[in-house]
Symmetry: C2
Subunit: 137 residues, 2 copies
């Protein structure tokens, strides 16, 4: 989907605890560093929909498993991907797309967003879950 | 300790899963974005010692509990702090200090480092744990 990119990330095994890559200033698709924050999502809960008009998101899932759905309102297309340590990739979403995500593993899953700008409510729009019809299975 | 700073971070409660702040470009003590990566540390395991000569570290513990020890070789001083969701702060460490950390909770604890430069082995020194005598209790 235009505006959506996936970049495989390295996991470096270490007997004391692994190292998990996230994002470098030299990474493909890096725009700018504005803010990094975590969002937890409990099992079965869905956060969304949200559309950013300026922020580029870089989403990484180091704990648990999260199902992401991206919706392009112009052509009514959905893009879906599930990220976890078993499919450890950075999901980059450019402004202008709707996004929602659901926790897919027991307990809470953890999402890191390394965003291109700081949080600013005025650049984001929200819609109720049922306003964009997606067949959450 | 000179070169070590602590900045309290917000946790925003949400019934679907909390939001945890990490770092903004406008945050006090922010230097530069070079790379973000995770380091896991298993219960009772100690990673270290390591000293960076150029990198400033911004350390955040969203999962589990990690005991950090920082050593200033010039004045032989130690600084110790334990970070977790119960003491949710950003620990900023300037170059020139030795650092080691231990996993303090069952399972693996998760550390996010938002570093001022990209990983570069030539700017870091390593020492065996026993080379710097600290009374890990």
């Amino acid at each position: 989907m235009h505006g959506v990119s996936l970049y495989p990330l390295k996991q470096i095994h270490n007997s004391k605890g692994d190292i998990l890559h996230a994002l470098k200033v030299s990474s493909d698709g890096f725009v700018n560093f504005g803010e990094a924050y975590f969002s937890e999502v409990k099992s079965g809960e869905i956060k969304g929909w949200k559309k950013h008009t300026k922020m580029t998101l870089n989403l990484i899932v180091p704990i648990g498993c999260i199902d992401f759905v991206i919706f392009n309102e112009e052509d009514k297309a959905f893009f879906n991907i599930t990220l976890s340590r078993d499919n450890y990739q950075r999901l980059t979403i450019e402004p202008g797309l709707w996004m929602a995500f659901r926790g897919q593993s027991p307990g809470a899953s953890l999402l890191l967003n390394i965003a291109s700008i700081e949080h600013d409510p005025s650049e984001a729009e929200n819609r109720e879950l049922e306003e964009i019809a997606y067949p959450w299975s």
